[in-house]
């Protein structure tokens, strides 16, 4: 036994030194472009966000490396450089992510990091990124606070923040003539849920001051059991129920609320409701107003780029792409454009991070979800057009999205320099609709 | 029938039994005498397989017990009455007594129960009471009854008279004397020599885990 133990110790120490060596040796002498990709690969956010996003990203990187993406993305890789992606699991909390980020930058010496679904991670990473001078592209997270509370040199977010989701929904409710005399909300008990509800409820109050707030529920994240909440929502008899639930929580909520008649009795709105459609299919209720955090999936614009992406994804994975793959691809496109713009300037060399950051600032590029403009946060934060729709059965009995209203980016996003919440409170001054 | 051959047992870092040797023949009754902590309970538990041996062997009817689990030893016909009685409080006296017969398939529970009640009729009177409600002395008696059910060949009685009122102690002593007549082998541990002295065939003195005869 003793001998066995000692052997084990020996083996494990050899293994560790070996891995360390691999880690170090991997870091040097790389010619292409090394990209750390951080997204949820385990835990409850993996199935709805992390995995489909990475599926989209993986596919897009492969096609980029093969040079099979249509113009203006037809150059191979990033400006001719082959992209090597290192995927990292985002689960485990912000503090763990800071460490993983450091490992990517210091140990693997990646050229850039693309990642982060969780707002908590997006709040934690940028300061480290600037400290380590590491180019970082946030591709998904929603909190407006990243560039409203601080400014960073090497950090960019290629997707609009969450304020737009809820402002647009409030506008949609009014434009479509829904009764918003009373509203209730069920949102998760953390920043995302709380911010979403605040943005929505304040927007509604601004647009329709007589509207009354009935019920504000904040169940804890990943609770999965909503029987009590559904009773409370139905008891409140609010005309509109708002929710920013996502992933398994949203799926479970739908499955539990549907037989109890919630969707028949009240107008339910899901601010990020599209990404569970591929999974739920026809179990998705009719008549629900939903956003996709951008013009994605069933609400994507009818452009060549979108048709190409939608089809490529569908062919590869057999389901249509919802918001997560769109957003990751959007991040990759932004990064590619910035790199290639920087290369134009420096004569085609591999650009350093300062050159890429300079090119990224204020960049505008086309994505399958429409024109993305890095307009907020002094050119570090994107705005993009938005779409809201209502679910309905099509003639084959399949659930689809109809009644789509599209909003210009400048209509549902604050102008540069104003915080989203102040902009809402002030009644959307300067909105260009 | 039972030979304990230079057995050592470690409890934590302490050597609780050192090269202890003992043997008992069929129908013999031996007394194991030693102070508290001398190793009596450790020895009995080792025979039952509760404690692992550091070295030495224990044989029962020439069968090496070293690798058998407690329940297998009980099935060989060894009955054990622990010092702290070890009755199951939620069960009735009768259920406690019957416990070994539920698991050991070779025992006929009716037969064994009749035998126990025959030897100790007072147990029958309290048979439906929960063990939780018995006095210490009554518990000793029930535990002895339970040991008798599985102990068809050998009984290990750990301090049966300890902490028992004199009258009951006298009664227990009579019962044990009566068992000797049934050709039963018995090892009985005591912290001091007492009134039962005359019934033993052999005596082992144990001190700090060693046989000091």
């Amino acid at each position: 036994m003793n001998f066995f133990r000692q052997c084990l110790i020996l083996i494990s120490s050899i293994l560790i030194s070996l891995l360390t060596f691999v880690g170090i040796s991997n870091a040097d002498g790389h010619k292409g472009f090394k990209l750390g990709v951080v997204t949820f690969l385990s835990g409850p956010a993996a199935e709805p966000f992390g995995v489909p996003a990475w599926n989209g990203g993986k596919l897009f990187i492969k096609l980029l490396n093969e040079g099979k993406v249509p113009a203006p993305y037809n150059k191979k890789g990033f400006g001719g450089m082959k992209i090597t992606a290192i995927p990292i699991d985002e689960s485990g909390g912000a503090t763990k992510q800071v460490q993983e980020f450091r490992n990517l930058v210091q140990r693997d010496k990646v050229d850039a990091v693309l990642g982060y679904v969780s707002s908590g991670d997006c709040m934690a990473i940028p300061s480290v990124a600037d400290e380590l001078k590491a180019l970082t592209v946030l591709y998904d997270c929603g909190t407006p606070r990243v560039f409203e509370d601080a400014s960073y040199k090497y950090v960019f977010r290629t997707a609009a923040h969450a304020a737009m989701d809820n402002i647009a929904i409030a506008k949609y409710l009014i434009e479509k003539g829904h009764d918003i005399s009373s509203i209730a909300g069920i949102n998760q008990n953390y920043a995302w849920g709380k911010d979403s509800w605040k943005d929505f409820s304040v927007s509604v109050k601004k647009l329709s001051p007589s509207s009354e707030i009935k019920n504000e529920l904040f169940p804890k994240i990943f609770s999965g059991q909503y029987g009590t909440e559904i009773s409370a929502l139905m008891n409140s008899k609010a005309k509109v129920v708002h929710s920013s639930l996502w992933g398994g929580d949203l799926q479970s909520f739908i499955l539990q609320a549907k037989p109890r008649g919630l969707f028949k009795r009240t107008q339910v709105v899901f601010s990020a409701g599209d990404h569970v459609m591929p999974g739920l299919g026809n179990k998705y209720p009719e008549g629900v107003i939903l956003g996709a955090r951008g013009q994605y999936g069933m609400m994507a614009p009818d452009t060549e780029l979108n048709k190409w992406f939608y089809k490529s994804y569908m062919d590869e994975y057999g389901v249509f792409p919802a918001q997560p793959p769109y957003r990751m691809v959007q991040g990759l496109m932004g990064l590619k454009m910035a790199i290639e713009k920087a290369m134009e300037k420096n004569g085609g060399k591999k650009p350093n991070k300062d050159e890429i950051a300079a090119a990224f600032k204020g960049l505008e590029f086309d994505s399958p979800g429409g024109l993305v403009q890095m307009k907020l946060g002094d050119g570090h934060q994107a705005i993009q057009p938005h779409a809201i729709g209502t679910t309905a059965k099509d003639k084959d009995g399949n659930i689809t999205v109809t009644d789509i209203v599209r909003y210009k980016a400048s209509c549902v996003n604050p102008p540069n320099g104003i915080k989203a919440v102040d902009w809402i409170n002030a009644g959307f001054p300067g909105a260009d609709c | 029938m039972l030979t304990v051959n230079s057995v050592s047992v470690k409890i934590g870092a302490i050597l609780a039994l050192k090269n202890f040797t003992l043997d008992i023949k069929k129908g013999e009754m031996i007394s194991l005498i030693g102070r508290n902590g001398a190793g009596k309970t450790t020895l009995l538990k080792s025979i039952m397989g509760v404690n692992k041996l550091a070295n030495g062997t224990i044989k029962f009817n020439d069968l090496d017990l070293n690798n058998s689990a407690s329940h297998e030893r009980a099935a060989l016909g060894i009955g054990y009455m622990p010092e702290d009685r070890g009755l199951i409080p939620e069960l009735t006296v009768e259920e406690n007594i019957l416990l070994p017969s539920w698991s050991i398939k070779s025992l006929d529970s009716n037969n064994r129960l009749t035998l126990v009640y025959q030897i100790m009729p007072e147990l029958k009177e309290m048979s439906e009471r929960k063990a939780l409600l018995l006095s210490g002395g009554q518990q000793k008696m029930a535990a002895l009854g339970r040991a008798l059910v599985s102990g068809t060949q050998l009984l290990l009685l750990d301090e049966p008279f300890e902490g028992v009122a004199p009258a009951l102690s006298q009664r227990l002593s009579e019962v044990i004397k009566g068992l000797k007549k049934q050709n039963m082998s018995i090892i009985l541990s005591q912290s001091e020599q007492n009134h039962t002295e005359d019934i033993f065939d052999k005596k082992f003195l144990i001190e700090r885990g060693e046989n000091v005869n």
Binding site: I16, D89, A94, T95, N103, Q106, R107, A124, V128, A191 | -
Partner: protein, 319 residues
Amino acid sequence: MSEKLYNNLLFQSIFLMSFLILVGLLIPNWLVFVITKAIAYGLVGLGIITLMRGGLVSFGQGFVFGIGGYTAGLLGTQAGLTDAMLLLFVSFLFTGLVGLIIAPLLARYRDIFFAMLSLAFSMVLYGILIKIDAIGGSDGFVLPESTYFGIKPSSEYADYILYVVAIIMTGFISILLRYYYDSTPGLIALAVRENELRVEYLGSSAFNVAVLNFTIAAGLGGMGGALNGIALGHIDPEFTYWTTSGEFVFISILAGYLSVPAVFLAALLLELVRSFSGRYFPDTWQLILGLFLILSIIFIPSGIGSFFKQFFDRLKKSK
């Protein structure tokens, strides 16, 4: 004799510390950082080991880890205190004080009940932290960059300087702990582990031993939390979550309660396994970490420290 041994210990420790400080210059930055983090976790593990010597295991050291981290963080953001050494020291004292206050509640209990009660405390703190939006709620908050004697090091050297500070402070704490372990109250704790009743008969109070040990463990855990927060530049309620506490218990069990340096080695080992399995097996790192935990508990039940002890015992014999 014992005089000589202690001198020897002090000499050994200072030698080891200087060696590590020098090594820090040669190894890559990420490893410097990983070691700093391992020191932070090791400090908490050291606290659990102090408790283990008295026969107790806390499954809720996330409680003190979190308090230490938030103390350092709030002093940094709210009071503008950024001196790393001062933050570590203040967190140590403050968390120790919190420990002293709640210790009497915990010290009455043993075994699984002690473990569960401490776990419950950490979960209550978790529940509170995610509710307070003013300090970031579930997202936590970013710490200001640390200074040393009023100087803010450039970002290339920040990691290394914190590493040096961590090694020096932890080194001296470890020496003090060794003295404590070998002192009368420290040895009484070991006796409590063996036989609590006997200790009570001899006139010492097992309760007092538990209170003292828990207070020390709390202080150490708080300092670990502060160091972890400062090193990462971010803290969040995850510090107090039960999975974090589980890692601390694992570190101390992997190390065993016999040796102080073993704790830091165990923490480093865990850090490396977790980080490399996350890097090379992003989909199944939990599986690998889990198997690593199970196998190390099966094959090294008395901890790495027992190897150290065997090794030194053999060394002494051969002399």
